[in-house]
């Protein structure tokens, strides 16, 4: 026993030590400890964010320098707070609270004290900076816009927040990140990769040279410049036309699915969200709950599409073989559902497909719609077929556009109505509003433009996208270069397109023809309602227009949706007509038409629901 005492103690000590070391070095060890190693400081070298050009190579977004005042709390030495505050242009209370926030975030990591000084402020501050130990100036680059349009498409960048910091280890406090639009979608392409230098520090936080001789250091990778599909001139022109109007416009090049213009009204100047005024301006835009400038109506505004939808019902009926172009229906200035007469503006009489489309006859399409359902033994089967055809046009679901926002719209299915009316308690006549694009259907202007592009292509479309090329290689995601075929055969498109062309020749849009360009289009006048003090109130109809041109070899397909613009041919039709001319001819020949659109606003319509007075709708003010 006494001989073994010391030996056993040595063995026990050995095991205890190895046990403790296993705990420390095997269990508690984690390989990414280098991130929090106090002995290593990282210094970043920021690349310039990639420029954004339009489809014609015109610069839309560039960069400008800005200067952030940074602080490392534990290095701060006593300072003349008053002088420093006046140099920074902040008050003492703000200074103290920002310092406290920085200290709480981390005493040894840099935090932003004052973001984005202007060049002038920077110049005066720079000379005195050496008096303020623990503070330094970090140069950053901010966005610079050569256009005042396309704010919602381009998106904006802003400082990373705590959520970003926790969820993406790439970002460090004070860095900028794309928040919406293209800036968000192509964040990783545009931002490039910052370079990192690792510096070995001692415990007094002094630099004692590069860590591992710079083996882990990386050089910054420049942000990639990207070309987008927007046409800057068309975009700017469209936004001018939208002055004083609410709604969304999307124009697409049918043969490629490239989005030529994406306009939401009202909008804002993208330069507002850059620099020190950013947060003030942002709050203003964010809290404007009436005109909602940050809400992108071109992609997120889902509403009943109205009459343009008739073209699809015509195509489905042809595909199903339940009508031919000469099949006729009579219009009694409306049509009967049971014993109720539902109205029609077309003037009445016998309608075939051609005149049904160009006069936008509700009765004709109610007849067509019933035929589609009557072909099948049960309404459920008819509904399934109809839904399948509709969805093949990119309706009722997200399109997969390369923009981070958007809405799916809605194509109702049998489950939807089973839930609404009860199983077996509805039929084609119950949902007859869908025949004319009202009822339970909803689509965004983007979806309407895409649907029009599919008609223009006679049966297929490319997923609409805004990316044209990235960097020098120029390649984009292959999903944007693959055609999506609709369920309608090519031959059925001609009669419908003929009807759409006649909309301009003899129909609802004959006043807004463009000399030398043959256009196919379709008007829409959509009833709409709002709630005022809990009561459902009807507002002036929404003005909708879809069109493509030229009819042969289409170069542009577009959808214009103007809230409370009354007849489709009015605001929406005019704007569509002007945009087509601008895009195809490059100039406007019909100056009177242009002048009218630039001057007329719908502010009086938008004020009505807020006036607190009873108001009239659909007045003939023009």
């Amino acid at each position: 026993m006494k001989k073994l005492l010391l030996s056993s103690i040595i063995v026990i000590i050995g095991f205890t030590f190895i046990g403790r070391l296993s705990y420390l070095q095997l269990f508690r060890f984690s390989p990414d400890q280098i991130l929090e190693d106090p002995a290593i400081k990282k210094i970043y070298d920021y690349p310039e964010r990639g420029y954004i050009y339009d489809r014609n190579g015109e610069l839309m977004v560039g960069n400008q320098p800005a200067y952030d005042v940074m602080v490392i709390p534990r290095e701060v030495q006593p300072l003349d707070t008053l002088e420093f505050c006046s140099l920074l242009g902040i008050d003492k209370k703000t200074f103290i609270s920002k310092m406290e926030k920085a200290r709480v975030y981390s005493p040894r990591l840099p935090s932003v004290l004052v973001p984005q000084l202007s060049k002038e402020d920077y110049a005066t501050l720079q000379e005195k900076m050496r008096h303020f130990v623990g503070f330094y100036i970090q140069k950053r680059s901010l966005r610079y816009y050569t256009t005042n349009s396309a704010a919602n498409v381009l998106g904006y960048i802003s400082e990373v927040n705590e959520w970003d910091l926790q969820n993406n280890p790439y970002y460090v406090a004070g860095e900028l990140k794309g928040r919406t639009g293209i800036e968000k979608q192509y964040e990783e392409v545009l931002r490039g990769r910052k370079g990192v230098k690792h510096i070995q520090k001692d415990r007094f936080n002094r630099d004692i040279g590069p860590y591992k001789d710079g083996k882990l250091d990386t050089l910054p990778e420049q942000g990639t410049e990207i070309h987008i599909t927007l046409d800057k001139k068309l975009q700017e022109y469209g936004e001018k036309l939208m002055h004083g109007k609410r709604g969304g416009i999307v124009a697409i090049e049918p043969k490629s699915g490239e989005i030529l213009a994406m306009i939401s009204g009202p909008t804002y100047d993208p330069s507002l969200l850059v620099g020190r005024e950013r947060s003030k301006n942002y709050s203003k835009l964010h809290y404007d709950s009436i005109s909602k400038p940050l809400f992108d109506r071109s992609i997120s505004y889902e509403k009943e599409p109205g009459s343009p939808f008739k073209t699809l019902n015509a195509l489905i009926a042809l595909q199903e073989g339940v009508v031919n172009p000469n099949t006729k229906f009579r219009c009694y200035h409306g049509f009967y559902v049971g014993n109720t007469l539902r109205g029609c503006h077309c003037g009445g009489g016998v309608r075939d497909m051609n005149s049904g489309i160009y006069q936008s006859c509700n009765a004709y399409f109610a007849g067509v719609f019933r035929r589609i359902y009557d072909k099948y033994p049960t309404t459920d089967e008819g509904m399934d077929v109809w839904e399948k055809h509709m969805k093949s046009f990119g309706l009722g679901n997200y399109l997969g556009t390369d923009l981070p926002t958007g809405r799916p719209g809605r194509i109702p299915d049998k489950n939807f109505y089973d839930k609404w009316y009860g199983d077996g308690r509805w039929a084609a006549s119950t949902i007859i509003s869908n025949a004319i694009g009202q009822g339970e259907i909803a689509a965004t202007p983007l979806q309407l433009a895409n649907m029009t592009a599919a008609i223009a292509n006679r049966g297929y479309f490319y997923t609409p996208h805004v990316i044209k090329s990235m960097g020098s290689s120029g390649s984009i995601d292959p999903k944007y270069t693959e055609p999506h075929y609709t369920t309608i055969d090519r031959k059925h498109f001609e009669p419908v397109i003929e009807g759409m062309a006649n909309v301009y020749k003899y129909g609802t849009a004959r006043w807004i023809q463009i000399p030398d360009i043959e256009i196919a289009g379709k008007t829409g006048t959509v009833e709409n309602f709002t709630k005022i003090d809990g009561e459902r109130v009807q507002l002036t109809d929404n003005s909708v227009f879809v069109a493509f041109a030229p009819v042969e070899n289409p170069q542009i397909a577009l959808a214009v949706y103007i809230e409370n613009g009354y007849y489709g041919a009015r605001y929406a039709g005019h704007i569509a007509s002007l945009l087509i001319e601008k895009y195809i001819k490059g100039e406007i020949t019909r100056k009177d038409l242009e002048k009218r659109m630039l001057e007329k606003t719908l502010e009086h319509e938008y004020a009505k629901p807020y006036s607190g007075e009873p108001f009239k709708i659909n007045e003939y003010v023009w």
Binding site: M1, K2, K3, L5, L6, S7, I9, I10, V11, I13, G14, T16, F17, I18, R20, L21, S22, L24, Q25, L26, R28, F29, P31, Q33, I34, D37, P38, A39, I40, Q200, K201, D202, R203, I208, Y211, K212
Partner: protein, 427 residues
């Protein structure tokens, strides 16, 4: 055998292990104190250069020791002891103060720490006293003498103040136990430490309840044949509770605040997580940094000269008391386990050597050497890896420092010299 001369008879395994430990120690001192890689390793302005010089001195010491007659050490043990006691006393008048402790004589080129010398002298004196034919360790009087030999230098070192070195003298108890000093003394000591710690952690009431429950359990589950008298057990319990009651008083009045902080940290007495973290980063700063450095080494370590915390000088006193943290950071789990195993094998080899001595003096001296080395090793590494409270003692053969290295070397080689002579002892 006797014909083979000194080099044939000396234990080369031990020498090899010793050399390996010194070498690994120096490598790590090099790493912790390297500033400019262009300087020569013999540059005496650097710590590693100085340590190399001390290793040279130690080698000279080895040669000196090996060429002295074996029985010189036994014969002059008492004289050495008296000289070292005088040197310790002299510190009160002539001592040089470094880092708050008056523990050194300034010899110009070299600071001599007599407490290191005293360890060698005490080991020799204790061995000599115990091996004396007239000494009987079973008698109380001789037990008192033995204790006095150990405790006098300890009590002289304590007020320097150098509680770490004083504590080392407790290691001589292992010699006493080996030579028949009753083992239950050790039991009582351990029991008191446990009582002390548990009282601080849970309070006297719970300790008393625990003791009573333990006693009941023992009585319930013991073999029926085993008779344990009741009265003495009750006596022990009462004494324990009295001791437990005195703990708070001792803790609050005898210990200083820094001791209390270290103990509080060690036993996690502070219940508030944030406050505990705060203590860990202030009072426990050294240990905190040392643990972090070891932890960051992982399994393979960061590599020689690649330890970021070692380079950044984050662990204070890393080249002396905290040298093991450098092993942990740069050589990882592989390195630390290797060093632990190396020390363990080294100690077991020394025990093996001690047990084969025919001369009682040699064996007892050997046990003294081993006990001192093991005690240093246990307290030092235990502290560096956060198992024990902070007590400043060096890691033998590893830590930077001339006195330490030279006296540990002398201590060891005197034993090896005695061992090389063991076959003559019988004659």
């Amino acid at each position: 055998m006797s014909g083979r001369g000194l080099f044939g008879r000396i234990d080369w395994i031990t020498i090899f292990l010793y050399a390996l430990l010194v070498f690994i120690g120096w490598i790590n001192i090099y790493s912790t104190s390297l500033v400019d890689p262009n300087l020569s390793i013999f540059d005496f302005s650097t710590l590693y250069g100085k340590q190399l010089f001390f290793i040279g001195l130690a080698a000279l010491g080895i040669i000196l020791v090996l060429f002295v007659e074996s029985n010189f050490f036994e014969r002059f043990a008492s004289i050495f002891y008296i000289i070292s006691i005088l040197l310790l006393l002299g510190l009160f008048v002539f001592g040089k103060t470094i880092a708050g402790a008056t523990s050194w004589y300034n010899l110009g080129f070299f600071n001599l720490q007599p407490s290191e010398l005293a360890k060698v002298a005490t080991a020799l004196a204790l061995a000599k006293f115990l091996s004396d034919i007239q000494t009987d360790i079973r008698t109380g009087r001789h037990q008192m003498y033995a204790l006095a030999i150990v405790l006098v230098p300890a009590l002289l070192i304590l007020p320097q103040p150098d509680p770490g070195s004083a504590l080392i003298y407790f290691s001589f108890f292992f010699v006493l136990f080996r030579e028949g000093f009753p083992l239950y003394y050790l039991g009582i000591l351990i029991f008191m430490v446990i009582l002390f710690a548990t009282t601080l952690m849970f309070g006297t009431v719970w300790v008393a309840i625990g003791l009573i429950i333990l006693t009941i359990l023992v009585y319930t589950f013991k073999k029926a044949s085993l008779k344990i008298p009741v009265l003495p057990v009750i006596g022990v319990i009462v004494l324990s509770i009295l001791f437990s009651l005195s703990v708070d008083f001792v803790y609050e009045n005898v210990f200083e605040q820094r001791h209390r902080d270290r103990i509080a940290l060690w036993l996690s007495l502070e219940k508030d997580e944030n406050k505990l973290e705060e203590i860990r980063k202030t009072i426990g700063y050294n240990t905190y940094q040392s643990e972090k450095a070891i932890e960051s080494g992982g399994f393979f370590g960061k590599g020689f000269l690649e330890g970021t915390r070692t380079k950044g000088d984050f662990v204070p006193e890393q080249h002396t008391d905290y040298i093991f943290s450098s092993v942990g950071e740069e050589w990882g789990f592989l390195g630390t386990v290797t060093v632990i195993l190396l020390f363990s094998v080294f100690f077991l080899r020394l025990i093996h050597i001690a047990e084969r001595q025919k001369s009682d003096f040699s064996r007892m001296y050997g046990y003294g050497v081993i006990s001192i080395l093991v005690f240093h090793y246990f307290i030092n590494i235990g502290m560096v890896i956060g198992l024990l409270p902070t007590i400043g003692v060096p890691l033998p053969f590893f830590s930077y420092g001339g006195s330490g290295l030279i006296f540990f070397t002398m201590l060891l080689f005197i034993f090896l010299k005695l061992d090389s002579n063991r076959l003559k002892d019988g004659i």
